[in-house]
Amino acid sequence: MGFLDYAPAPESASILSLRPEYGLFVDGEFVDGHGEPFVTISPATEERIAQVARADERDVDAAVAAARRAYERTWSRMSGTDRGKYLFRIARLVQERARELAVAESLDNGKPIRESRDVDIPLVAAWFFYYAGWADKLEYAGLGPRPRPLGVAAQVIPWNFPLLMAAWKIAPALAAGNTVVLKPAETTPLTALLLAEILQQADLPPGVVNILTGAGETGRTLVAHPGVDKVAFTGSTAVGRQIARAVAGTGRRLTLELGGKAANIVFDDAPLDEAVEGIVNGIFFNQGHVCCAGSRLLVQESIHDEVLDRLKRRLATLRLGDPLDKNTDIGAINSAEQLERIRELSAAGEQEGATRWSPECAIPDRGFWFAPTIFDGVTTSSRIAREEVFGPVLSVLTFRTLAEAVAKANNTPYGLSAGIWSEKGSRILAIADQLRAGVVWANTFNRFDPAAPFGGYKESGYGREGGRHGLHPYLSPSTLATPPAMIDTTGVTGSAATRASASARSAASGRGGKGNGK
């Protein structure tokens, strides 16, 4: 046995105590759903993990009503300090149960435990910690002295970072004083349900967060529900468009974080070894299931061969296999459906004349897998250079001049992220100014921080998540002397709103023991 055939080092799935069946999390309790339950499987083995309830219209009504009650009676009246206490508590519980959450995430999503353990879960805790700090400082959010929450937020999240996306959505909404109905993706409901347990553990008031599992139909019902004040969606551009149509004209606020086709631009003066690492991290992190993945490598003509050679050598050391093994670099593709899409686009890439290359790599018999793949000689008009593959597939294009690099990088309907690799700081700044992308990484890629706003241009969506900007989608600018609950746009809550006077709110905060006492 060679040294590199590391003996298996699996993280133990036995630290999880999963229930065989999960209901919907409504008004602080797990309840049965009215739809036909479905099964969530591990994409690495296709084995059943648990049965999950499916929410239908009645369940959505109940969840939105619970969120409304919680908003009016508790959450909007509570002081920011107390809301912050709950969020801090959730963050600490996430840290305490980090190992368990990481295992659940890898099991349900297929991502390597190395990533769920070292990236996803620590970021989840960081997001709650960060927005916990904002809860009592909303007057500094840049929206005037007393910005107001919106009400009930309907949030629909994707399957690529299931728990992290839940944190991105829930933390700022709660910090700003809104209540939430969250729908996790159909293929990855598990960690959201574990989060529901954590919310119970944290003694979060019932109804402040409601979690509805289900498929696209559940999501459609939720975002179109007349009782919600705000819709937030992360996912594909196609679904984003449908949601924008459904929400248009209703007065509800909408933020969308959609697809991407990021350019990763490598100049001839780049730190080559680190650039190669960055390219790998840009597109093969999380099997390429990253909306901001650096899926288009733009490499300067003069170093094309050198970079490709180094990249191929590096790819040969990537280890594909059991997501729960601590030495796995590339896990499973999340679903059969997604695998099919990756295969189809890769076949199109070959048909369009690009040169396909993958390292030698044993593919397990069961589960959904796709070897890391590079397409060289891709033209800007190829499908694999224009459409989001959302898989471990890198398209390589070259450029000669700076202007050409910028033109090619911007030549996409998307605009979520971009990367620049150069040792020359002035060049990085000049290029970053010209790129139409929400996030531009310099000499790194796929780095996330709760303090940094994230979001897109063009078809990558609108609105920002993270940082002070991430609060704005959940707040209205202040109108002085108007208490928060008065601005309820749905008009459902007249009497409760008038009760929520300043004195009532200070009384609520006087009972702050609720926040940290139990």
Partner: protein
């Protein structure tokens, strides 16, 4: 550029091949300054990522044995005595007297004046081969990586060239080297003149290494292996480490070594990774294989395993060979032996169950 940059340097074979007939200070400078930069943040992230590899069970057992076989067991104290060197040599041959299956270390590393005692002690232990070991053939080509060192028993490495500071005249440094080689050293660990390097006098450093490599020749025509210590803790930037590594290789180093162990920081994983990238690139360019030796500060088996991972995933498994990779360490061996005992017996013993020097 002043005229001094046109000064011809020693025509070291590798430099002639890469830079062309006239090896000048200017050509050397262009080569070194034309190397791609190093992004420190990215390098350290890569090193940290390699550190997360989980080496368990059979892999760990193999790794522990590999570490022992790659160790230069070192004592470099002013207070070293012949008795201590004899004890070190005995331990080098049999790191764990309670387990005869424990492999010997690669070499003992001592000051030049201690070489005769090491020779005697290793001879007495029957670990000195037949006198044909240690044929430094400089550039090793594509041939199969031998386990030469193990067949030949334990080698003797001597630090030289006014170790650790390198502050002495050229004549003294060369005499230091010749003396150690004559006394029976198989390997010479030299230090570069960091003062000259940092002030940009690359040619001076280059010529010095070439001269030391020449002084490594034995009367019988063989040559002691040359390890060039860069003392990365004094080089200030990763870019400098990369340049110094190239400079040492061009001048004829068989091994590039991080540190003397007398300066902090000594070996770190990012610095070692960077040097491994240089030897990987050199291999790509020329087919030649150069060794890497992190030294100083590696005290635990766990840490050493991270270095093995970095080696295997950067240059390949074939580098896990005493001809191509060494640990310079004094206390590392104790922890590796302890871990090895733990894997055999299922429980930890304690420091008193592991021999000391």
């Amino acid at each position: 550029m002043t005229d001094s940059t046109q000064i011809a340097l020693a025509p070291a074979e590798r430099a002639v091949r890469l830079l062309g007939g006239d090896v000048t200070e200017a050509a050397l400078r262009l080569q070194l300054e034309g190397l791609p930069g190093v992004d420190g943040v990215g390098l350290e992230q890569r090193a940290a990522a390699l550190s997360t590899r989980s080496v368990k069970e059979a892999s760990k057992r193999a790794a522990l044995d590999a570490i022992i076989g790659l160790t230069d067991l070192t004592t470099l104290e002013g207070a070293d005595t012949p008795g201590r060197v004899r004890s070190l040599a005995a331990r080098a041959v049999r790191p764990d007297p309670s387990d005869p299956s424990t492999p010997p270390v690669a070499a003992v590393c001592v000051y030049g004046d201690m070489v005769p005692y090491a020779v005697d002690a290793l001879k007495a232990a029957g670990a000195r081969g037949d006198g044909t070991r240690g044929e430094g053939d400089g550039a090793r080509g594509e041939g199969a990586p031998g386990d030469g060192a193990r067949r030949a028993g334990v080698r003797i490495a001597a630090v030289a060239t006014a170790f650790p500071s390198g502050r002495a005249s050229m004549g003294v440094k060369l005499a230091d080297v010749r003396d150690a080689v004559a006394a029976g050293a198989d390997e010479i660990d030299m230090v570069i003149d960091r003062g000259a390097f940092l002030s940009g006098r690359f040619g001076e450093v280059f010529d010095e290494i070439v001269a030391v490599a020449e002084a490594c020749r034995r009367r019988d025509g063989g040559r002691a292996h040359l390890k060039v210590i860069l003392e990365t803790g004094e080089l200030a930037t990763y870019d400098n480490v990369r340049r110094a590594s190239w400079l040492a290789i061009l001048a004829g180093a068989d091994f590039i070594k991080t540190s003397t162990g007398k300066v902090s920081p000594a070996a770190t994983l990012p610095v070692t990774l960077l040097m491994l990238e240089v030897v990987r690139d050199w291999r790509r360019l020329t087919g030649e294989r150069i060794g890497v030796k992190p030294a100083g500060g590696i005290r635990s088996a766990k840490e050493a395993i991270r270095y093995l991972v970095a080696v295997a995933e950067t240059v390949g498994e074939e580098w896990l060979d005493p001809e191509l990779f060494r640990f310079g360490a004094s206390s590392l061996l104790s922890d590796v032996v302890l871990q090895r005992q733990r894997m055999r017996s299922g429980h930890y013993s304690g420091a008193d169950y592991v021999a000391i020097d």
